[in-house]
Symmetry: C2
Subunit: 145 residues, 2 copies
DNA sequence: CGAAAGACTATGACATGTCATAGAAGTTGC
DNA sequence: GCAACTTCTATGACATGTCATAGTCTTTCG
């Protein structure tokens, strides 16, 4: 039955893409992971988010985001300055070096997407998206009352 | 643009599914992960595969398979008896306990798939699969000569 | 035969996923 | 203003993903 393997195909597609994408970034001599890049992108556009907010945007766990932020900070791609009005949080900003990496990765990501979607029409993509979102929704626990 | 978020949707769909699936297995009191279950299933049907063969079937790395097999063996779901004709390998077999777990997990997995695909038609699935396989193929490095 | 080449498994190192929780800091309600 | 609750971050524990490589065993070939 089709449904019996659709999740396997899903898994395979996304993992193939991630492997390929990471490989192109590595080959370009850029020392950053896909996941770190994702978080860095979010920080570029919003510098006032909690780790939980960031996690929601990149669909990760707060714990994962905490570790990724620690790595980004350690590598000097993000600066963290304690916020005066909330002792728990820090002001996170993409550094100059962070901007350089973002700029260098951006065209690679675009190329990767194009490569991955070669031979896939816009119509097919248009059909794909609602199905994927339906699956995600079906699998998301309803936040009980 | 659609293509700019399709991979995000893909990622979200498969992760949502995996979280939900693991949660149902945990709730049933079964001490096994999705990935361990996948490998166990393969062993049930083929007991003469190398780790590399298994890895291909479940689309994992050989190193991951090695660790999963070690866990399955440690938990008594798989037995490993050194092969006489090849000192590197072992004969891997699903134990009684392994069979019990497989039997217990099977209906849960079927339910999970149905739940995840609620509201998705067979036609949509039929459209989805070739696109996913196309993406996987596009992202797979051609084994050079 | 014996050495080089290849196959197979195990493991180190690091990043991430997930759950759980500790510890610190803010908020609410009385 | 204090206690209870909530929010936020950090981290421990364990599983997996990925790359690289060590160590063992097999096959090949000169």
């Amino acid at each position: 039955m089709l449904s019996s393997i659709i999740f396997y195909s899903l898994d395979r597609a996304i993992r193939s893409y991630r492997r390929m994408a990471q490989a192109t970034i590595d080959r370009a001599g850029l020392d950053i992971t896909i996941d770190q890049w994702l978080v860095l992108r979010v920080l570029l556009e919003h510098d006032d988010l909690t780790q939980h907010d960031i996690a929601e945007r990149v669909f990760k766990d707060q714990a994962s985001v905490a570790r990724i932020l620690a790595l980004l900070t350690r590598r000097g791609l993000v600066s963290a300055v304690p916020l005066p009005h909330d002792g728990r949080r820090s002001q996170l900003r993409v550094t100059e070096e962070g901007h350089r990496i973002l700029d260098a990765v951006q065209p690679i990501v675009l190329q990767n997407r194009a490569l991955a979607l070669a031979g896939v029409s816009e119509e097919e993509l248009a059909l794909l998206r609602p199905v994927l979102e339906r699956i995600a929704l079906n699998c998301t626990p309803t936040p009980g009352p």
